[in-house]
Amino acid sequence: MSQHEEHGPSNNPAPSSSSNPAPSPNPTVPVPPSNPSYQITPDAILAEITSLSHKPVLLSQNLKSALPKESRDAILARLLPGGQDPLGALDVRTNTLGVLWILSARLMVHDAAPPPPHFILDFCRYFDPEQAKLAPDRVTMLARGIERYGYKLNNVAWAIEPLYLLLTRYPPDLSYLTTIHPIFLLACVTSRHFSIALPILQTPITNIDTHLSNLSYVDNLKYHYIGGIALAALERWEEAEDFFQICVGSPAMVPSAIQLEALKKLWLVQLIYRGKTSSLPRYVHQNLSRMLKNTAYQALTNAYPHNLDHLQKLIEEHRQLFSNEMNLGLVVHAFQRAPRWTLKKLTATYLTLSLADIAREIKIDSQEQVRNMLLVMIEAKEISAKISANGTVTFFDQPPQFSKQEVDRILQQVQQQSEYLKHLDRELGKDKEYITKALKQKDEPGWGGGMVDDDLFSSATGPGGQQWVDEPVYI
């Protein structure tokens, strides 16, 4: 099964090759003659798995080569001749690889006997990650299978726990992106259990290993897009902004539709969190923001936040569009927060103002509402102000305070970061592919003999992105 298969719930799950009923002993599927058609029965496979339980590498090879590709999953999904479940005969820990193959097939093959839910959970809790790593594509398949199983049970939330276990136990650590990430997040978001995803979301992805997990670019885009949605739903705007930004800024030869959607949401989140949109990094595909020119989204960001009447009109006018694109909630939220930005501007202009004056300036009728808004903003430390009994509001300039420990901690972080960068730089300098490229380029005229370290940043942001030049290698 191709890794590019759509894994939405609405997809037709049946693999093209297996339409025969599972218990039939004779596979009607033609077996390629080159393939030794020795006992490809469930008990034979079971025997193979148990006998090779201590040689997982060999088992992995055998499973891959012995079974014909087309009918492989259909065979694996069958029960034993006596109607027994082969999974029952295997130990999750020692036979991780075998169970993984069978379980993933059972979950994905159409009309195969469904494994009991607790077995899936147990597997995810106790499997041996080392063995599982031998078959990353089966892990992906399992994750998709679990997701589908959740839909079949009519209880998407059920899928969250096994997926969470799988996700936390499979990769070496959470900084590695896997194919499980987007599936897990999607399950959380569809069942509205946003906060469960938080520990995962708070570990930023820094590692990509295609040997660990058969990733495609869609996995990355989806993870960061859905992650942004989850964080926005939790009102963690700053992190949501980061996630959408990563999605928008992912390398692209043509902008993806997911990136376009992410950009729309990014703008809305920025309006909510910052009161204005900020410019995109240079490495974002140019066509992306061009696509949003002259759309309702751009009109909205232009009118935000002071032109309340115009905003209201825009939202009314495009309500259908926003609602169709699932952004109405964010749009309305941004609109409700618009007076805050006006109020914030007032704090920069005035030292004292009466509540009535504020109400007039930010075009809110009731003073009580203004008072509430002020209190919320003061509590959230968005402004520093004092409301006295007679309705006078005094704004302060709160000079930023830093303790020595804080500064030290930040310095330390920065040092770590720069160490890490240096390390990366050296790693890259050792990289074979890089050295061949650099040597080739060195012979070409106009090659300035490398850039200084300061250029690291700018060259990384450039459209090439891969042109890393490292001085120390040649010294």
Binding site: T206, I246, P251, A257, E325, G329, Y350
Partner: protein
Amino acid sequence: MDSQDAQDDGIYASTSTHQSQAPQKPLIVHVDEAHPFDLESYISNYTGRTAVDRLIHIVHVSPVLAVEAFQLAVQLIQQSRDLSLYTGLIVAYDQMNANSGNQLPNSSNIAKLDQKWIDDVSAKNQAEKTKLEVELKTYANNMIKESIRMAHRYLGNFYRLTGDYSSAVKHLTKSREFCTTSQHILDMCLAIMIEHHNYANLTTYIFKGEAALESTAASNGNTGNGQAVGTSNATQIAASAAKKREKEQIQTKLDLAAAFSHLGQGNYEKVASYIFRLGPPKDLGDWAGTLISTADIAIYGALCALAGMSRGVLKTQLEGSKHFGSYLEQEPYVRELLNAYMGSNFRTVLELLTRYSARHYLDVHLSPHVQQLTNMIRNWAVVLYFQPFKSIRLDRMADAFGWTVEEVEQSVVNLIQTNQIQGRVDSQNKILQAKQTDYRADLFARAIKAGKDVQTANRKLLLRMRLQQADLVVRPPKQQPHYQQVPHHASQWQHIFE
């Protein structure tokens, strides 16, 4: 081009510009003791078309002067041949009458043009037009260049007189193609444009004029060399001196035209610097009076400079200008205004501006800009006044400017919000305080923020690099367009943000 179009381009266009500049309410200029304005002495500075034009503008904006201006205008129109001016005048007057509640006497009662005169003029115009056009056709058939040029020129002049400005420009431009020294014609084109407030097109002609000026200068040099054999040095020098004078005159006109074009676009600083660059008043030649009076130049220059330049720049520019002083002599209050501003006597500045606002509003070119200019000058004044203070009571400022406290507060708040004053208003106690920044803390805050930003940016970039290394790059789809995925993905999260 038929004459209806031309009329639209002409006087109607000019009246409609005024309306579009002040769209909400029609501008009403009050002329009274506090805002003096002497119509007769004002209009005596102008002759020809611009006088009528200015009178029509006055009819348009000032109910007090409307009747008098109307009468004057009718007299002047009778000396001209342009019937469209009369229509424009009547429209302006009736509109003013309607706006002020029909309190003015009916236009036909004050002064009436002789119907016979109208018929005569229109018949004469028609006859001349036919005659000139036939002439042009004949010449064009005969291919006599010089005659074609002359025919175009006559036609151009004719259209200018009858108020068909676009046809006039068209013919004058054509006649330019048939002659070598084109300066005079450009000159006329510019004059016509200014007459008709076509500020946007001016620039094109100014460029052409400047290019022509350079080429004549170059050709002068060449002919000078060629004639050196036969002529004595003295005449040559005299000739080149005359040329130089002429060049200066033309340059002055071009600069003035440039000033007009920038004024039309609201680019006040440029207006001022072009006006400061003008040659002496006599260089204006026939433009003085038919287009603009020297007093006008003083007013435009001073107001635009006050509004558009900082005090330092204004001072150096003013000192560096050779001839602006001679324009200032025409209008003593302008000098007073500049002096008061330089002496930080802002109350006087504002009083003068108010006192002469009628004069400014009634000027046909300046009128749409007066409000904006006044605001800008006021802002400068407030900024300059507050500069040396750490905190100041608003009532003291009100005193210094002759405003109410509310006015002061309003303008100060605007200036803070546009970042022209670094301060905050204590609205309860009516005090303006300069902003105090703790630079050390500020520096820390900024450094830490920068550090955090760079770290986040690095993290994102490194991830991006890893993605690229793993070749996880979005590629164009092979078959179906990528877009089809959108509704599919999006529909799953429909309920989240509802």
